[in-house]
């Protein structure tokens, strides 16, 4: 019986856990409860993946009203895969939070932190699982509002400006999405995604449909930090509390990319998006620009968090590149990179949180000599950095391999060269950090630094170890990604 309600519970449990977190007065209890819920979500995501991995599609009708009258959740390989990423990262970040926020957030705000994290998790899971275009917008609002709150909790005053900047950009994005959904409703009279998909092919020449498409692509582009709409991202990631950077940095943009894919392939259909609107010729130059530009900027950053944030913009460029290639291998590369980038950025930000906990800040110069002082933390960082570069045996290699294969398959060899060049740039910007940590002496007047506590190290190493595990045994992620990519292309290959 419980299995049948699994799709609803996946979102409803964290959604209702948020007010409960707020009602629990004891901070520690609130944290324990939140962690427990995050594990429960992860368990449910695993169960869902098991059920749909052979191509089955689960449907859930809210209120017992059949779509398109009611709201429907539908779970297929693609969203089960994204659910797995989001809830998996949450299951690591929530337990990690307790120690991490002790030094970063005033104690009076701990409950607010857990409540907002819970809301953000619920919103992201809901955006992923929903089969209704308007419901997606509602859950997008929940996740965005709570992420503005979370970013503003950063201890630097500039966190407020960063959060405000994100709020403005994010609201514009959300408004564009709402306009797009509204135009679709005016054209078809329905909000259900599957129903929309069945009605849209008949409307191909309609200019309203084209406008709706433009608004949705730009709206999600803002949310996923597509170049040049990425301006909010570096500040937001740099000034947020470490645990928040880890969570939002590895999930929020991924979910936005998923939503973009869902609209491009399922709602509008690959034929309309790529043959009629030719959206790949918009995405490809932007992807190239963001890879080159962001990697370049990342090389000159003083703050490690900001450096990683720019690297995120570059990684998003890879994902968009995979979409713009319009073949199964490219899409598989994108989906694999969703998973892999979540693992590596999550791991790296968690490691940075451990450094921030002991050292107090995360500028490149302030980590000098930490290689000896914090061997486990810096070890984790090195592995994460290798994965970011794309060294074999790490996950970064797998997704880049697929992307390179896809470019070769299409015959776009300049893009192959671009991927290799940008990997070299990643070597440059990560090497600066590693060099400072291992080959520079700790300044004589700097205070003594101990290894980070286990409560931070264990979660960080969990994600870093996942980087290695899925780099060596990539069956699970590639199977799911290939399955999802094939499903999105359906029978009709371009």
């Amino acid at each position: 019986m419980i299995n049948e309600h699994l799709p609803a519970l996946q979102v409803v449990v964290p959604l209702l856990a948020a007010p409960i977190c707020f009602l629990i007065l004891n901070n520690r209890l609130s944290w324990l409860f939140a962690s427990l819920v995050s594990w429960l979500c992860f368990a449910m995501a695993i169960l869902l993946v098991m059920e749909v991995k052979d191509g089955a599609v689960l449907h859930y009708e809210f209120g017992g009203w059949a779509p398109p009258w009611g709201i429907e959740y539908s779970v297929d390989v693609l969203n089960a895969y994204v659910l797995l990423i989001v809830s998996g990262i949450a299951a690591v970040v929530f337990p990690y939070s307790w120690t991490s926020i002790q030094k970063e957030i005033p104690e009076s705000h701990h409950r607010i932190y857990f409540t907002a994290m819970m809301l953000c998790l619920a919103g992201l899971l809901g955006m992923t699982i929903t089969g209704d275009a308007f419901n997606l917008f509602v859950l997008l609002e929940i996740s965005s509002l709570s992420s503005y709150t979370l970013i503003s909790l950063g201890r630097d005053r500039r966190a407020l400006t960063a959060s405000f900047q994100y709020l403005i950009m994010g609201t514009i994005g959300a408004t564009f999405i709402l306009i797009g959904v509204g135009l679709l409703y005016a054209l078809t009279g329905t909000l259900n995604m599957a129903d929309l998909a069945s009605k849209i092919p008949a409307l191909e020449g309609s200019r309203t449909l084209q406008a709706a498409f433009a608004f949705l692509v730009v709206g999600f582009g803002l949310k996923l930090a597509m170049f040049p709409l990425h301006l909010w991202l570096p500040n937001a990631y740099a000034f947020a509390p470490s645990a928040v950077s880890a969570f939002i940095g590895s999930t929020a943009t991924k979910v936005a990319i998923y939503a973009l894919l869902r609209f491009l392939y399922t709602v509008f259909g690959a034929d309309f998006s790529f043959n009629f609107m030719q959206v790949q010729w918009l995405l490809m130059p932007l992807a190239v620009a963001s890879i080159l530009f962001a990697s370049m900027v990342a090389m000159f950053q003083d703050g490690i968090k900001r450096l990683l944030a720019y690297s995120s913009v570059a990684q998003i460029g890879y994902m968009l590149l995979g979409i713009s290639l319009v073949n199964i291998t490219g899409l598989t590369g994108t989906l694999l990179h969703l998973f892999n980038h979540a693992l590596m950025k999550g791991g790296l930000f968690l490691t940075l949180g451990a450094i921030a906990y002991r050292v107090g800040d995360t500028r490149v110069k302030s980590i000098a000599g930490l290689g000896q002082a914090m061997p486990f933390t810096m070890g984790a960082f090195v592995v994460g950095a290798l994965s970011l570069i794309g060294v074999p045996l790490t996950v970064g290699f797998i997704s880049k391999w697929y992307l390179i294969l896809a470019t070769l398959e299409k015959g776009y060899w300049p893009l192959t060269v671009l991927i290799i060049i940008s990997s070299l740039m990643a070597v440059v910007y990560t090497w600066r950090i590693i060099e400072t940590a291992y080959f520079q002496e700790r300044p004589a007047n700097a205070p003594e630094v101990k290894e980070a506590p286990l409560s931070l190290l264990i979660p960080a190493w969990t994600l870093i170890a996942a980087n290695l595990y899925f780099g060596i045994n990539s069956r699970l992620s590639t199977d799911l990604a290939t399955g999802a990519a094939k499903m999105l292309f359906g029978g009709s290959l371009l």
Partner: protein, 327 residues
Amino acid sequence: MSAINLLIDIVLLTMLVFTTIAIVRSRSLFAIVMLSGIYSLLSANIFVVLDAVDVAFTEAAVGAGISTVLMLATIGITGYEQKKRRSISRITPLIVVFITGAVLVYGTLDMPAFTNPSNPVHEHVAPRFIEQSPTEVGIPNMVTSVLASYRGYDTMGEVIVVFAALIGVLSLLGIREKKTDPVYTEPPPRPILQVMAKFMIPFIILFALYVQFHGDFGPGGGFQAGVIFSVAIILYTLTFSQQDAMDLVPPWVLKRLAALGVLIYGGTGVVSLLKGGNFLDYNVLAHDPIHGQHYGILIIEFGVGLTVACVMILIFFAFISRGDKNP
């Protein structure tokens, strides 16, 4: 008849355009607040003309009442004037706005003609709402049955959005409870206002209750009722003092109740789950599905009203307890 409607439409929209231009051109934040009050009055009129009663009602309660008050409280924190900043380029926003506008206009070119009865909006989903909701959900106001039952999950999402806004405001501002009022230890006596407020507050609360429970039949429902209720408390705060209001409704109680409202909504869903239906399937709440729908809608509307009222009051408290500090 339709000529007069057209004329009214044109006049209202023209006024709306002028108001918008005035808002954009003004530097005085206070003038902007006043003009946006007018803007929302105008848009409520337009909603009335479009026959969207429930939307007009919400706009009336939210746009004219709460948002003016909250925006004023915000100016109390920020100051009167927009700072002059020369460094910001005006070209980029202008281009963005023009492109957006152009795409919107382009999008309307193939839009189904307004008021054409054979539009997809009228032919696909809507007929069932119109024809079957009286027998399936059993309440006369179709808008309420769509919001609370057919798309009840979205409404739950919206309540949580309101709750998330509260979390944001609490984290940014917090509510300062202070025993003495530093600015006005002795507020100037305003007997006429106080008498008037005492007379009005019961009226407003009564009307809030009417809106809350009459939502099944006429325009209104939990959301609007919550806002109207919070307006009563705000009037009390304004004519007496913040401390008086905080003694009447202590913030810690409001915080609990705001969370409780969300849980009441979600709890209804969980109960229906346990009784063997889907989440938020009110049919299983009673032996007779129609009764079940009735109970379900009544309970969730109560949850909505509770959360909205508490959140609005709390946000107001948070703003004014900040505004006192730096006038």
